[in-house]
């Protein structure tokens, strides 16, 4: 028996594209970062090209998701992108250019997510708005609890970065949204 999929707003095909976009985004960022940290290596050009191709592939998959207006997957992708949002001097050997490039790259992704969320909230019907509200309340609650737990154990945990919190909010919202959608479709 096939399991009913929770919503057309985030289809199975969209899930496959989201996973592809998330993997290629991660791979692209990691390869680019490694290459740029050691740009005197003879393999540097190949690394840059590989990272660039991976980022383009990720962008292509993201474009497909946007075209089908499956905004939950865009929010999920923004959550992944925010994990790499580190426009700090140390991460790029002090290069202001790459620092700004990284900042713009992820801000575009998060800005697009916010834009599509706002647009879709306007066109959502009453059940969808209710589901989104439930998902937001779960997301905020879970992240708040996680922040309190972190505060209690900050001596043994790594320091918290702002983008991680934003990523957790978006990521937990997508998961809570899928869970809430499923409850109404059983």
């Amino acid at each position: 028996m096939s399991t009913p999929w929770p919503s057309e707003r985030a289809s199975r095909k969209g899930l496959a594209e989201f996973l592809f976009a998330a993997v290629t985004l991660t791979a692209g960022v990691v390869v680019m970062r490694q290459t740029l940290l050691d740009y005197t290596s003879p393999d540097a050009m190949r690394g840059v090209l590989t990272g660039f191709v991976a980022l383009v592939a990720s962008g292509f998959a993201a474009f497909h998701i946007v075209r089908r207006r499956e905004y939950p997957w865009i929010l999920g992708l923004a959550a992944v992108g925010l994990l790499f949002y580190e426009p700090i001097p140390g991460a790029f050997g002090g290069s202001v250019f790459w620092r700004l490039t990284t900042a713009v790259r992820d801000l575009v992704l998060v800005g697009a997510a916010a834009y599509f969320l706002r647009r879709t909230m306007r066109s959502a019907d009453e059940l969808d708005r209710r589901i989104q509200l439930e998902a937001l309340s779960w997301s905020y609650s879970l992240v708040l609890v996680a922040l309190i737990v972190h505060a209690l154990a900050e001596d043994v945990l790594p320091p918290l970065r702002g983008p991680w919190v934003a990523s957790a909010l978006l990521g937990s919202w997508v998961v809570a949204w899928l869970a809430a959608s499923t409850r109404y479709q059983r």
């Binding site: 057309e8 019907d125 009453e126 969808d128 209710r130 409850r183 109404y184 479709q185």
Partner: protein, 83 residues
């Protein structure tokens, strides 16, 4: 099973019967009402009670009074509604 976090609607409805009488799919009815197919599915499965405006829209689409589509569930002794 409807317990814990599961939504428990307070009304029963004849939506599947009325829709079948007209030969409409869930998607077709959703389009007539300007809502998503998931919303129709959730109402038919008793997972969600529509708002008053949507209930009136359903009454208009099926040319019936609201009471001809929806009826309240009987409350049980423990305050829950019957499935």
């Amino acid at each position: 099973m409807a317990g814990g976090l599961d939504p428990v609607p307070a009304v029963k409805n004849r939506l599947p019967v009325l829709r079948a009488e007209r030969g409409w799919s869930q998607a077709e009815l959703a389009q007539r009402l300007g809502v998503s197919r998931q919303t129709i599915n959730a109402i038919e499965n008793g997972r969600y009670d529509p708002s008053l405006p949507l209930a009136f829209a359903l009454a208009r689409v099926f040319a019936r009074p609201i009471e001809g589509i929806f009826e309240p569930r009987e409350p049980q002794a423990d305050g829950q509604t019957t499935p």
